[in-house]
C-alpha cells in the first residue's frame, strides 16, 4: 500500500500562484508568469511526505470546467481522464469571490478536493479577512491558507494532501458515482446556481473593506494605462530592456569568444598530437566546435540578460496591460489582443512564441498569431542586426550604442507594423472572419522575486533555447565545413550556390553570399553573419570576428553599402522561419499545410520588402 505513488493535480484560475505553489512543493524551478495561460503544457514534479511519494501535475489556469481554449481543454481533460488521487485547487485570496465559481464546479466534478487559499499575506495587506474554517464548512472540503512565496502553510498543505490520500481507501467505491454526475446536466442552468452559491459562501466567509478602486493597483494603472503615458511608457520599457541587453552583452560575449579561441587551439593541438586525419580535424574542430563556440558566445550573454529582464516585467503583471493598451490595433486587423503577448514571447524565441499562441481561444485568430509570430525578430537575429547597424548606421562615438538601440527599436516597431498588415490581409483572405470576443483579465500587480526570476529565466528559457540551438548547430557545423571544403572544378560547393543566387540577390539589394548564408542558416538565425564572413574570407570554416572594425573593413571590401546593410537587416526581419519554429508550427497545427504557408508568406514578404527598399534607395540615395 505504501508503495503506491499518488497523483496530485493543481488547478485554479489563472494568476493564482499555482506554479509558485508547485515550485514550493517540489523544489523544481518551474516557470510562473503573471499572465493568463502561462503554464502551456503540464509541468510534472514530485515530493515526499511521511514516506509517501506524490507525483504532482501543474495544470494550465482555467476559468471553468467547460473549456473554451486549447490550454483550458488540456486541464479539464486531465481532470476527467486521469482522475488524480487528490485535486488541489489553488485560489487567489485577493479575489476569492470569482475563484469560488471554479472551486464549486471542481468540487462537483472531482472527489478528494483540497482548497489552497494562496497569497494570504497579500490579502491581509489589502484588508481582506478569510474565515477558512467557515469556508471549509460551507464547501465541505479541507481548506488551507498559504503564502507559497515564503513557504507559509506549505507543510500544512502537504499534510492535508497526505490525509486526503488516506481517505481514498475508505471511500474509493462510493465516490465513483459522484464523479461526473453533472456531465449531461444543463450547464448554463447549473452555472447560475453555482454562482449564487459562490456569492453566498463568499459573503459568509470573507470580510473586507477593500476594493480595486481605492488600492495601489489603481494608482499604478492610472499611469500605465493612461492616454498620455501608456504607450510612451511601454516603448521606454522596451528600449531600456533592449539597451541593457545590447550594452551588457558586449563584455561577456567578448570574454567567451576569447575563451573559446583558446580552447579551440588546445583542441587543435590535441588532434594534431594524436595524428588525427585532416578531414576529421576539419569537421570536428573547424566545423562543429567552432560553430558551437560561436553560437554560445553570441547567443548566451544577450539571452542571459534579456530573459531575466523580460521575466521581471512578466511577473510584475505588465504584459496583459500591454495587450490592453495595444488591442485597438489588433482589433483593426481583426485579430485578438492577446497576440501581443505571443509576440513579446517571440522576441525571446519564435518557437516559444508559437507555442504561447495556445492562450488564444478562437482557432482563426490563433492561426494568424502562429503564422505571423516569425515577423517579430527573436534573440538569434538581434546580434546580426546590431553588428550591421553599428557598422553602417551608428558609426562611432558616445552615442553609438544609443543609435544601435534606436535601430533595433525601429526594427521591432516595423516588425509589429508588418505583423498587423499581414494579419489583416490574412483576416480578409484565407482566414476570413470577424474578431471573436475579447476578454482579458488584468491581474493584480505582484512583486517579482529577483532570485527566483534569475534562476527560472536562466534554466527554463536561456538554457532551453541555447540547448536547442546547440543541438541543431552541431550537425550544421559539420555540413557547412563539408560544403565549403568539397571542391568541384576548383570551386567549393558553397561558392556555386552563392554564384547561382547572385543575380536574384542583387535585385533584393543583397548579394549571393548573403542570401546563401540565410538559406544555410535555416537551423539557427545566429549563424547567418558568421557564415557571411566565412564566405567572404573564403575561409574553410566559421570565423569569429574580433571587433567590428575588422568586420567593417571586410564588408566594405565586399562592396557593402548602406543599401546592402538596410536590405540585409530587412531580410533578417522578414524571412523564412528557422527550422525549430517550423517544426513547432507543424506540431501546433497538426500538419504540413500551415508550416508551408508560413514559410511561403514570410519568404515572399521578405523578397517583396527587400526589392521595394532596394528600388527606393537606388532612386533616392
Amino acid at each position: 500500500m505504501d508503495k503506491k505513488i499518488f497523483t496530485v493535480a493543481l488547478v485554479g484560475n489563472p494568476n493564482t500562484g499555482k506554479s509558485t505553489v508547485f515550485n514550493a512543493l517540489t523544489g523544481l524551478k518551474q516557470h510562473t508568469g503573471n499572465w493568463t495561460g502561462k503554464t502551456v503544457g503540464n509541468a510534472i514534479g514530485n515530493f515526499k511526505y511521511k514516506d509517501t511519494a506524490f507525483d504532482i501535475v501543474d495544470l494550465p489556469g482555467i476559468y471553468s470546467i467547460n473549456p473554451t481554449s486549447p490550454d483550458e481543454k488540456e486541464a479539464t481533460d486531465y481532470l476527467k481522464e486521469n482522475k488524480p488521487d487528490v485535486v488541489v485547487i489553488v485560489a487567489d485570496a485577493t479575489c476569492l469571490e470569482r475563484n469560488l465559481i471554479l472551486i464549486l464546479q471542481i468540487t462537483e466534478l472531482c472527489h478528494n478536493v483540497v482548497l489552497c487559499v494562496n497569497l494570504i499575506d497579500e490579502a491581509k495587506r489589502k484588508n481582506i479577512y478569510i474565515d477558512t474554517k467557515k469556508l471549509s464548512y460551507e464547501l465541505g472540503i479541507d481548506v488551507i491558507s498559504t503564502n507559497a512565496r515564503n513557504k507559509k502553510g506549505l507543510e500544512k498543505l502537504k499534510e492535508t494532501i497526505y490525509k486526503n490520500t488516506v481517505k481514498i481507501f475508505t471511500k474509493i467505491n462510493s465516490s465513483e458515482n459522484k464523479i461526473f454526475k453533472n456531465k449531461k446536466d444543463n450547464y448554463e442552468k447549473n452555472l447560475n446556481s453555482t454562482i449564487s452559491n459562490a456569492e453566498k459562501i463568499y459573503r459568509l466567509s470573507v470580510k473586507t473593506d477593500c476594493c480595486y478602486t481605492c488600492g495601489i493597483d489603481r494608482k499604478i494603472d492610472n499611469i500605465v494605462l493612461s492616454r498620455k503615458a501608456g504607450i510612451p511608457l511601454m516603448l521606454l520599457m522596451l528600449s531600456i530592456i533592449l539597451w541593457i541587453t545590447i550594452f551588457g552583452a558586449n563584455y561577456p560575449s567578448h570574454a567567451l569568444s576569447t575563451f573559446f579561441t583558446f580552447a579551440e587551439k588546445k583542441l587543435a593541438d590535441f588532434f594534431t598530437y594524436i595524428n588525427m586525419p585532416a578531414f576529421i580535424h576539419g569537421i570536428f574542430v573547424d566545423g562543429i566546435f567552432r560553430t558551437l563556440a560561436w553560437i554560445v558566445a553570441v547567443m548566451l550573454p544577450p539571452m542571459a540578460i534579456f530573459f531575466p529582464l523580460f521575466t521581471f516585467f512578466e511577473d510584475l503583471g505588465l504584459l496583459p496591460r500591454i495587450a490592453f493598451n495595444l488591442d485597438k490595433f489588433f482589433k483593426n486587423a481583426k485579430t485578438h489582443g492577446k497576440q501581443v503577448l505571443t509576440m513579446c514571447m517571440g522576441l525571446g524565441c519564435n518557437a516559444a512564441g508559437v507555442t504561447a499562441c495556445r492562450i488564444i481561444d478562437s482557432p482563426r485568430e490563433r492561426l494568424i498569431a502562429i503564422i505571423t509570430n516569425n515577423f517579430i525578430p527573436c534573440n538569434g537575429r538581434f546580434p546580426g542586426i546590431i553588428a550591421i547597424s553599428s557598422i553602417f548606421i551608428a558609426g562611432t562615438g558616445v552615442l553609438a550604442s544609443l543609435k544601435v538601440s534606436i535601430v533595433v527599436l525601429a526594427s521591432i516597431i516595423f516588425a509589429i507594423f508588418i505583423t498587423l498588415i499581414v494579419s489583416k490581409i490574412l483576416s480578409s483572405t484565407i482566414l476570413k472572419g470577424m474578431p471573436s470576443s475579447f476578454i482579458l483579465e488584468l491581474p493584480p500587480y505582484r512583486k517579482p522575486e529577483l532570485k527566483k526570476i534569475i534562476v527560472r529565466s536562466i534554466f527554463d528559457r536561456t538554457l532551453f533555447v541555447l540547448g536547442r540551438a546547440v543541438a541543431v548547430a552541431a550537425p550544421i557545423g559539420a555540413v557547412i565545413w563539408i560544403l565549403q571544403n568539397t571542391f568541384i572544378g576548383g570551386n567549393s560547393v558553397l561558392s556555386y550556390l552563392s554564384d547561382f543566387l547572385d543575380p536574384f540577390a542583387h535585385i533584393m539589394g543583397l548579394d549571393g553570399v548573403i542570401l546563401a548564408a540565410f538559406i544555410i542558416g535555416i537551423p539557427a538565425n545566429e549563424i547567418v553573419i558568421p557564415l557571411i564572413i566565412m564566405f567572404y574570407l573564403k575561409n574553410p570554416s566559421l570565423v569569429p570576428f574580433e571587433d567590428t572594425k575588422e568586420l567593417s573593413e571586410l564588408l566594405i571590401a565586399n562592396n557593402w553599402t548602406i543599401k546592402t546593410a538596410v536590405c540585409t537587416i530587412l531580410f533578417s526581419l522578414n524571412h523564412f522561419p528557422c527550422s525549430t519554429t517550423l517544426l513547432t508550427i507543424k506540431k501546433e497545427t497538426g500538419g504540413l499545410k500551415w508550416p508551408a504557408i508560413t514559410f511561403l508568406i514570410h519568404t515572399s514578404v521578405g523578397i517583396f520588402i527587400c526589392i521595394t527598399a532596394n528600388l527606393f534607395m537606388s532612386i533616392f540615395i
Binding site: Y63, S64, N66, T68, T94, C95, L96, E97, R98, I101, L102, Y187, E188, L191, N192, I195, S196, C211, Y212, T213, D217, R218, D221, N222, L225, S226, R227, K228, G230, I231, F324, N325, L326, D327, K328, F329, K331, G337, P435, S436, S437, F438, I439, L440, E441, L442, P443
Partner: protein, 80 residues
C-alpha cells in the same frame, strides 16, 4: 423613461448593475464564468490609450472588454 442602457455607454467610475447578457452562447458562457451575472455590480475603471477596450472592475477582478462585447451587456443604474 427607459433605464436600460448597455455597458459601453457607462462613464468611467460609475457603478452599475448588470441586467442581462445578449451575447451568443459561448461568449455568454465565458462572461458568466468570469462572474458577469444578473444584479452583479460592475464599474468601468480604465479606457485603453487608443480608446478601446475598456477595463471593468467586477467581483474584485479587472476584466477588459472590447466595445462590441460591452454592447451586449445590458445594465441599469445602481439604486441610490
Amino acid at each position: 423613461m427607459d433605464l436600460l442602457i448597455t455597458l459601453d455607454k457607462v462613464p468611467l467610475n460609475v457603478p452599475v448593475k448588470i441586467v442581462s447578457i445578449k451575447s451568443e452562447f459561448s461568449n455568454k458562457k465565458r462572461l458568466t464564468e468570469l462572474g458577469f451575472t444578473e444584479n452583479c455590480e460592475i464599474i468601468p475603471v480604465h479606457i485603453s490609450p487608443l480608446g478601446d477596450p475598456t477595463a471593468y472592475c467586477i467581483r474584485g477582478t479587472i476584466i477588459a472588454l472590447r466595445k462590441e462585447d460591452a454592447e451586449n451587456i445590458i445594465i441599469m443604474p445602481k439604486e441610490v
